[in-house]
Symmetry: C2
């Protein structure tokens, strides 16, 4: 049971309550994946529900993209565990307006995202409903499972890919405008981080977390689980220029916009001090995913915050995205 | 790929379409469970979504019962595969009216049904939504996986437990009346058939299927998958007297009411000819679940039906329950 290690937030309060109630019957609630030992192998399992109007809108994305994105969300949890070779099952709740052809399109997206991550769709369930939702469950193999707990003082803190693109698309849509194609693509068909997660797990990653709820909030979960403080330099964040306009429209600097994030299926990872730029280039050669050092883990001090963001030599306060806030 | 073996019905038409589209990327769609080989073991996996207003109503069941019943539905698929030791993950989509205490109650039911089946809840996901739904995914171990395909001419056709109780509760509620306590209990907290499924799998069951969509319809799926005809004697069905009033109110004999069924999480199983009443008593001693022989599998004839129900020496036509009809 890891619920003592959960970070702050209303969603985690709920999970804590559930973990307390389930008692000895629950195992490992509160990490990106649950782990299961089978025949000498370790399986990582995650389940993730995407609901129309909450996670996607049919006027923003094609059905295929909705299926892709739903699968990508669950696959990202496997990536954060360092697991690969995903097996996927999909349970679709379908309102009467979603016809057989539409179901096929949704499942096409699920199948393509799964195939792009080197996996297979094993099966599923179709049900009637009032609102469209996709529940995607993924099962991967974790030769070296990496948890949220494990970061140590002195570790470098790194992030995969880039930050802010998907959120830029989202905030642009919410303002009733048309997002930049690069931001739209990042939102609609996020690339799986399965390969880079697997590579990092095999290169002594100490702790790892999916930052789809935003770097600011998810960094706190990793810090809380590992009982360290993270010091993150906002000017180091890999925020591409396509984010600038959306950040400006929200009245934020691109770095803060990228840190608040959410919607990016990237990984935050604590790596040993010795892991440097040379190793990061090696990782990029092997996986084609860039890796950026954005800070370090330090000893936690009594009463001190769990994550400090720095900008121009000053600490900056950021609040993470919380589903239930 | 087993989609060529799927029976008739609108839901199966959809699954067939999906299977064709996924092509080589889908494996084993269309049975109760998907199978996955891990470290020399075979895992059986199923995912099952329960939606408010479709599968349950909050004015009929307590939240705990809703959680129990949702888990029981998925566990029943494992039972039909002969799998046991279930690991369970639950993704809950929660409208704003469902508070933290209500979530705990739902998960309490999921946890209790899982524990009663000898399993563990590994984790889950909580999301906001407009309507309440529970997506339960179960992973069990199948030492001897039993599929829908495999019944042979000469096999005895048996059913576990009793038929019609849960449907009696449902139809009584739908008439605005209060169901008999025995029928209500069968609907609200169906007992898992994991142990008897596992026992049957270890005793040469040739084919097995969960009949939660009704014996009449599900028998056709087993017959189609196995390419046999099933001859079932309606007067042999284990329909308890508590069903009588509800059957009468629907203008059906208890046997026909029980055969149309749906909602009962029982198993239909094809067993070798040699399996007789003595073996059935052995099974009941080991698992506390009665087993009733209701018919046999015979050679399929050109143009002949896949399932024939007999009553008083006459064939009777029954249509199964189909989610999408």
């Amino acid at each position: 049971m890891t619920h003592q290690l959960l970070g702050p937030g209303a969603e985690f309060d709920r999970i804590r309550k559930i973990a307390e109630m389930l008692g000895g019957n629950a195992q490992g609630l509160g990490d990106d994946c649950a782990l299961l030992e089978v025949g000498g192998e370790t399986l990582a399992i995650s389940t993730d529900v995407s609901v129309e109007g909450i996670h996607f809108r049919r006027d923003w994305l094609s059905l295929e993209e909705i299926g892709w994105r739903a699968a990508a969300g669950a696959l990202s949890d496997l990536a954060a565990e360092g697991a690969d070779a995903p097996s996927v099952v999909a349970a679709l709740a379908l309102p009467p307006t979603v016809d057989a052809e539409a179901v096929t399109q949704l499942m096409k997206g699920v199948g393509e995202a799964t195939a792009a991550a080197g996996g297979h769709v094993l099966g599923g369930d179709l049900s009637s409903s009032g609102e469209l939702s996709l529940c995607i469950t993924v099962i991967g193999r974790a030769a070296h499972p990496v948890r949220r707990v494990g970061a140590r003082p002195g570790d470098g803190i790194w992030v995969t890919g880039s930050l802010g693109l998907a959120r830029a698309a989202l905030t642009t849509w919410l303002r009733g405008e048309v997002p930049h194609p690069a931001t739209r693509a990042a939102f609609a068909r996020p690339e799986s981080r399965i390969r880079v997660g697997r590579w990092l797990a095999g290169h002594e990653a100490h702790a790892m977390i999916d930052i789809s709820d935003g770097l600011a909030g998810d960094a706190r979960h990793l810090a809380a689980a590992s009982d360290v403080r993270l010091e993150i330099a906002l000017d180091k964040l890999p925020v591409p220029p396509e984010v600038d306009a959306a950040a400006k429209a929200e009245g934020k600097t691109p770095a803060v916009f990228g840190a608040l994030g959410g919607e990016d299926y990237e990984l935050l990872v604590a790596l040993p001090r010795e892991f440097g730029e040379k190793e990061a280039r090696e990782c990029q050669r092997a996986t084609r995913v860039p890796l950026t050092r954005i800070g370090e883990a330090v000893q936690r001090t009594e009463g001190g915050g769990s994550v400090i963001f720095w900008l121009n030599g000053e600490p900056v306060s950021l609040s993470g995205f919380d589903h239930f806030r």
